[in-house]
Amino acid sequence: MEVSVTVNGTVRSADVEPRTLLAHFLRDDLGLTGTNIGCDTSSCGACTVLVDGRSAKSCTLLAAQADGAEVTTIEGLAGEDGLHPMQQAFHECHALQCGYCTPGMVMAAVSLVDEYDDLDGDSVREGLEGNLCRCTGYQNIVKAVLAATE
């Protein structure tokens, strides 16, 4: 079936199998491999993207369900003047080690900061409860998210 999604500001259309997941559409049809798949059961958050501005796990959403929607992936964050403040903060605070969770973590963090003004350490941890990191112990991730809000 024909699916047409605005990804990072550009309308992208493809003829896909009806069962295609949004994560696979992004990675395989559009070549946007920044969105990782860790579990494919909505548990780890590695596949987090923004759909119409809200965080979503793209491993349990059909591409067909995103037809006509606006999707932002990690590739869509940086602008002409460089990294997005959240990416910059992750870089500066050493908020990643292997990097596998990072795209999803950054997207979830962007959505969190967008939704709440007065974040502190606890609310950042709570807001990122859907994103697992096997490496960092989260300390520097929380630091980075708070740094990005300053």
Binding site: G45, S55, A56, T60, L62, A64, Q65, A108, G130
Partner: protein, 287 residues
């Protein structure tokens, strides 16, 4: 496989009438997980998340009608939370932000898991489920809707269009025990709602029986012994008896998340806490 992205409720019902074996897809947080794990096959799918009529809610006097595709994020949001505080509290504990953005009340109901967090609240509120098909609409009271572990009263071709709950004057509590704090499925949960006008307290339990259970004897005791004019909590002896009766209403089992004995103990503690909180000054009061 076919996927129908329904845009109207009539479209969705017609698609289901055409393909009675089709599965209904809302947020996908239960269904797609099972599909990806290979536990469930999907041949024909009717997706409801783009049906505008299922997405909103409206208030008619003291009744709130929630479209089936209302998300947990919306239930927990500023508009709905003051109207049904316990439903908002329950919705806030579901999964993570990404899950709450997708997970719908209709999906939680249809899945009918003993651990479905909105279920005890809907049971305590005596919610009514609006079921729709090409043949029309029928109302199913919540205690007839959830028929067993992961089974419900929907016939082929039917879907949930909405859930109706009363807007009550009185405090409400939803409490949940899990194995950790973040993104957790409940081991035991309890919803308590107070109806000041009706002078009654209603309590329902989750995760301690195949279906949500009402603690009727405990409700009678509390409703009887509360000083409604002063709005004061009953004394410690009554609170203890209330909690004991709540625990008696549970029919828990041992499973990988907890033992029956632990669950019975947990609901007793939750019952005591909920009743005390509800009658402490400053507790959430519905509009």
């Amino acid at each position: 496989m076919t996927v129908t992205i329904a845009r109207t409720l009539d479209d969705a019902c017609a698609a289901l009438a055409d393909r009675p074996d089709a599965v209904v897809l809302a947020g996908g947080t239960d269904l797609m997980v099972e599909v990806n794990r290979g536990l469930r096959r999907m041949d024909d799918v009717v997706a409801l998340d783009r049906v505008a009529e299922l997405r909103g809610w409206d208030r008619d006097g003291d009744e709130l009608r929630l479209g089936a595709a209302t998300t947990c994020a919306e239930l927990a949001g500023d508009e709905l939370a003051p109207l049904v505080p316990a439903l908002a509290q329950a919705a806030r504990t579901v999964g993570s932000p990404q899950i709450r953005n997708a997970a719908t009340i209709g999906g939680n109901l249809a899945t009918a898991s003993p651990a479905g967090d909105t279920l005890p609240v809907l049971a305590a509120l005596d919610a009514v489920v609006e079921v729709r098909s090409v043949h029309g609409t029928r109302d199913v009271p919540i205690d007839g809707f959830v028929t067993g572990v992961k089974s419900n009263a929907l016939a082929p071709g039917e879907l949930i269009a909405a859930v109706r709950v009363p807007i009550l004057d009185g405090p409400q509590e939803f409490l949940k025990v899990g194995t950790r704090n973040a993104m957790v499925i409940s081991v035991a949960s309890l919803a308590l709602v107070v109806d000041r006008a009706g002078r009654n307290v209603r309590v329902a339990l989750g995760s301690v029986a195949p279906v949500p259970v009402r603690a009727v004897e405990a409700e009678v005791l509390a409703s009887d012994r509360i000083d409604w004019d002063a709005g004061a909590a009953p004394g410690p002896v009554v609170v203890d008896r209330f909690a004991g009766l709540v625990a008696d209403a549970a029919r828990p089992i041992d499973d990988h998340r907890g033992t029956a004995a632990y669950r019975r103990h947990a609901v007793e503690v939750l019952a005591r806490r909920a009743l005390r909180r509800a009658f402490t000054a400053g507790s959430g009061v519905a509009a």
